[in-house]
């Protein structure tokens, strides 16, 4: 199925009437099932608004948003989200933070008390897959920033969403931790075949992880370019030092740089 997520001529604004702030203008794009897409652009270009549109948290002012051929009218539960700040709940242990979506999304919600044990094992397995084995009982504030972000991604994935929406998830991390998490995310995506939309302003991050990179203009956000990354996946961190990689990053940088 080609168009798993499809946006057609989508515009979006915050507020109404003359004072409305147009965030996204006439965006058309489609993401295939299992594709890793990244959106880059200058800050305030409506990258995050795209996420709100796809997740159904904010309605489009014009155009249509469709997931699996169905128009999006409200929040979609086949979506998992993670943000720049991990937003873990400090009163819950890491394991219980990861379990949170299962207490809300059906059909897990109804089964939660009955199958708690199984769900916990599932969460433990997920934590293990991102290198957080043995940290389940720790509280979020006892973890480092990178570990919190790993846990946050686990929380976004626990209910097995089909789309993972990531809004600058590694923006607050140091360069080394960030690269470690790139690899963790790469492996998770490869193992689960989940469709990912990554919003970032880090061009290297976008090129390293994504199949397709979309470049957006400054406010109101328009799509300037769709760029398929010509490097075979899975990619190793070494690839970021190759000329081919640098060329793609440079091309994207020129596109964005010209906007200012």
């Amino acid at each position: 199925m080609r168009d798993f997520v499809r946006l057609e001529g989508v515009s979006m604004a915050y507020g109404r009437g003359a004072g409305a702030l147009k965030a996204v203008d006439g965006v058309t794009l489609s993401i295939a099932r299992g594709e890793f897409a990244a959106v880059v652009g200058p800050s305030g270009c409506g990258k995050s608004s795209l996420m709100k549109l796809i997740s159904g948290l904010h309605p489009a002012a014009a155009g249509t948003v469709a997931v699996e051929g169905q128009p999006v009218r409200g929040p979609l539960k086949c979506v998992g989200m993670a943000f720049q700040h991990s937003n873990l709940l400090p009163w819950r242990s890491t394991l219980r933070n990861v379990l949170l979506p299962l207490e809300i999304v059906q059909p897990y919600r109804s089964a939660f008390s009955k199958e708690k044990r199984a769900f916990e094992n599932k969460a433990q397995a997920l934590l293990r897959s991102v290198g957080l084995e043995g940290f389940g009982e720790k509280y979020p504030w006892e973890l480092s920033g990178g570990m919190q972000q790993r846990a946050s991604i686990c929380r976004a994935l626990i209910h097995e969403p089909e789309i993972l929406l990531l809004d600058e998830p590694f923006g607050a991390l140091d360069a080394f931790t960030r690269e470690e998490l790139w690899c963790a995310l790469r492996d998770l995506q490869a193992a689960r075949k989940v469709t990912v939309l990554l919003v970032t302003h880090d061009l290297r991050e976008a090129v390293f992880l994504a199949d397709t990179v979309y470049v957006m203009s400054g406010r109101p956000g328009r799509l300037l370019r769709r760029c398929e990354v010509p490097l075979p996946r899975p990619r190793d961190l070494e690839v970021t030092y190759t000329e081919a990689f640098q060329a793609v990053v440079h091309e994207l940088r020129t596109l964005i740089g010209g906007l200012h």
């Binding site: 709100k52 997740s55 159904g56 948290l57 929040p75 979609l76 539960k77 979506v79 998992g80 989200m81 993670a82 943000f83 700040h85 937003n87 709940l89 400090p90 009163w91 949170l100 979506p101 207490e103 809300i104 999304v105 059906q106 509280y139 504030w141 929380r155 976004a156 209910h159 929406l165």
Partner: protein, 251 residues
């Protein structure tokens, strides 16, 4: 050890010694400011009536405080639920809170007669406001990203409040209880002072009328002591239930 128990004990003792020394050095008349030694001997001499009245004040305070806790928590959740509700309730609550409760006591006595009921209600009226404001603030300041995470999962407003809002506002809630419990105490005593037949406030009023100033001060000391105990108990409950919010403060 030093900072937690010895320092406050030493300071309290020093305060009483200074008070005693001041009374003796300046020969302050007994009817103006009795020395602590006189106050403590009055406290011992009249221990039976003081204890009996202290029990009355304590239970009216606790009853009013319990009402305020339950009502304040519920109203706080309602007010914090939605911005419109917050805006709607707030001016009325501030207005209500601004009415001096001393002025309300005569009305309460008119309605419920002399006795413990007006004291309980005054304690309640004076102490629920900080609880409502704190709980509502805790709910109203939930991080929007966090709400997005949950709403994207199809969580209802009730889910968000239950899973995030209420746990998150618990430190605010327990913090406000410390304020509320002392206010409840003030309310109960104020009510007893305006009109009651029992309680520490009434006892002090009677002692004052007959110029037994050491008894008045003995009553004040007991009030201060009970206030510390109530505050300490609430603070202990706070730490017990919101340990996560006290992280980094080594125990």
């Amino acid at each position: 050890m030093w900072t937690r128990t010895l320092a406050p004990a030493a300071f309290t003792l020093a305060l009483f010694l200074a008070w005693e020394a001041l009374c003796r050095a300046l020969r302050i008349p007994l009817t103006i400011l009795p020395s602590p030694s006189l106050v403590f001997s009055a406290l011992w001499e009249y221990r039976a009536p003081i204890a009996a009245n202290a029990v009355v004040t304590l239970w009216t305070t606790l009853a009013g405080f319990a009402l305020a806790t339950v009502f304040g928590l519920l109203l706080g959740i309602v007010v914090g639920w939605h911005r419109a509700l917050y805006a709607a309730f707030y001016p009325v609550m501030v207005g209500f809170n601004s009415v001096p409760k001393v002025a309300v006591v005569p009305v309460l006595i008119l309605w419920f007669g002399l006795g413990e009921v007006p004291a309980v209600i005054t304690a309640f009226l004076i102490s629920f406001f900080p609880i409502v404001v704190n709980v509502a603030t805790g709910l109203a300041t939930v991080e929007p990203e966090l709400e997005d995470v949950l709403r994207a999962l199809g969580a209802s407003k009730l889910d968000v409040v239950r899973k995030v809002g209420i746990p998150r506002s618990m430190p605010y809630f327990f913090g406000s209880l410390k304020v509320a419990v002392t206010l409840a105490f003030v309310g109960a005593v104020v009510s007893e002072t305006v009109g009651a037949n029992r309680g520490l406030g009434k006892l002090m009023l009677d002692a004052q009328a007959s110029f037994q100033v050491p008894i008045v001060f003995a009553g004040l000391l007991v009030l201060a002591f009970l206030g510390i105990v109530l505050y300490g108990a609430t603070a202990a409950v706070e730490v017990r239930f919101t340990r996560w919010a006290f992280r980094g403060q080594a125990t």
